[in-house]
Symmetry: C3
Subunit: 263 residues, 3 copies
């Protein structure tokens, strides 16, 4: 496995344009997270321009957190463009267990072979058709319980599946790794997972997707650890987290990454 | 009147799922406020799923700040589901005096008998049909001037009406209380009132609604007082406020609550 | 040229209601920026009420960052109302080089003669039909390169054109000024430009638009300089920036403004 730091270095060098079709709650934080890590974010969803914009960007993230039929159609259109161009796109099935609409939209998006699917354990279990104990948009299942589901899902999409939690699990169906960076406060503020998608997408541009995803998870978790050292609560954690991402260096990422390849 | 602290303890214990159909400005802050107080927020508005999601959640908030006809229809649909299930829902008539569209939508929502209507004095006066001096989304009337309107509105809806201001006024038509916690900086940042709705909704789950609403107002105001002690301005007030909500204990809430029952 | 401080004093005195039709990423920050400077912001976009609301407000800002056809129609409707009433409106052509939809919408909005067009160099070059090297929503061109384009665009609209960058350039076609306040961190967080629009709009209410725009740019840049002195990164820069705007006095603005009239 390649060192994580070089992926961060590549983002800082290339400043990739990342196209995000994300939920209303996440948009501002996600943009600032991508800027802090060194990417150039754009939020574009309108049917009138989404395909044209998708053809300009280096990567795409899709998040169904506040989607409706029109936004869903825009997501399919953009993902279709990016897939055809052979570029990376990241899919986040927020709260997929909650409604039939999310399940149907997720099915259609999975058919467009996302480079990376990232979700919590309940979401990945739901996607894999194994049933989950999802409750709203929180994770009611453990990451360990979702490992088989993640492998099965990766076999279906041909891409990477990442399960977020206290210890993250990443697999391409064959290879797998666990990343144990992070801080408990990250689950006490909203849109952390959504924001992580943008870092994964930036790291994956012109890079091997499995290794880049693992590196992105480590970078994100390390920034959380840094922020947790000074934050007085979830409110002060947020600016501290953005500051930490901004100051994270490739060397610090390599030194602090806790990545374990799974046999 | 019951002690306020036990409502906070109940939220921390139950972690209720609160469904929010709110405005674009408020979504992120409102989610973080609900997480800080101990609830599990979800923002869901699409017609394709709003009724299904409303049936899953323990409470609902509806805020017309950036509504349009489609969002308005989703609000009515969700409120109808929640009312039929006998659960709590909170209605915030943001800027209702400003346009005919807001007045018509508010009329339809009031007919669905919100458990709690929360607004500033101008909004409550407008809703009660007494005319207000509203100006945009700010309060141009005093809370005291809206007390009779609040009682009349509570009689109409059969629920609670809460008027926010330097001293809050809460009534169910018969009983009434004033809550004098809070900090002047709370009116210098956006979406504080919207965020309060989410705390009220969480506090009301499986609880007596009048007492729970009063407790929520006190908790929110106390967190504002805490934040005001360290903030250097409205920018640093925001993270400090989230930190304060997160660290607020039932004991501290009981000790600092300034609640006066009105004869 | 009038002193800048008096424009800030006028905003604090009048607390103008500013109607914003802006992008989803910017809404919350933009509202807090306007509150901090002393204005009263409202975000209203629905076709059902946008004209009625535009007739109530003292100024309007329009930002196409996440527009679609419906929002575009609302922008045209609101701008039409404001123009007819002879009030000030500010147009921000975010990412106009990226898609045909943005270019067509911008053309229609320019025909409604915005009082102020504010963008980065690439956006102004694109608008002026001179072609730009735009990339997403970032500026790929220098401000200096856009000066002629800005003058040409001002001749077309009959209003003010402001080009944001390390040194801002403002012109009404004949007069011109450069404003060199600001801090590099302002380009490392999202929606700073969007938020600036709201300050310009507030400053322009009942004032000479060229001088008011220059003063708004100086005020915004000075707050950035203040925030940059204490921020540890882009995360902590944001609350510090809001605090700095809130504490900025007319005297401090006059003392720190770096404005140069161009011959």
């Amino acid at each position: 496995m390649q060192t994580s730091g070089r992926f961060l270095g590549a983002v800082r060098e290339a400043v990739p344009l990342v196209h995000n079709i994300t939920n209303f709650v996440a948009m501002n934080v996600m943009a600032n997270v991508q800027l802090a890590i060194g990417a150039s974010p754009a939020m574009v969803h309108a049917r009138e321009e989404v395909a044209e914009f998708a053809s300009l960007a280096q990567a795409l993230t899709v998040n169904i957190g506040t989607a409706d039929a029109q936004w869903g159609a825009a997501m399919e259109e953009a993902a279709g463009v990016v897939r055809k161009a052979g570029r990376c796109w990241v899919f986040d099935p927020v709260g997929v267990a909650a409604t039939r609409f999310r399940q149907d939209l997720s099915d259609r998006l999975l058919a467009l072979e996302p480079s990376v699917v990232r979700g919590n354990a309940s979401e990945i279990l739901t996607l894999a058709g194994l049933g989950g104990a999802a409750r709203g948009v929180d994770a009611g299942d453990s990451v360990a319980a979702a490992e088989d589901a993640a492998r099965a899902l990766a076999d279906r999409t041909g891409g990477i599946v990442a399960v977020s939690g206290p210890v993250d699990f990443v697999t391409d169906g064959a290879r797998a790794a666990r990343v144990s960076n992070g801080h408990p406060m990250m689950s006490r503020i909203t849109v952390m997972g959504c924001s992580l998608n943008g870092v994964i997408a930036a790291f994956c541009v012109d890079q091997p997707v499995f290794d880049a995803t693992v590196a992105a998870l480590a970078a994100f978790g390390i920034a959380g650890e840094d922020a947790g050292r000074t934050a007085r609560g979830p409110g002060s954690f947020q600016p501290a987290f953005i500051d930490a991402l901004y100051h994270l260096t490739p060397e610090a990422l390599d030194a602090a990454a806790r990545i374990e390849e799974v046999a």
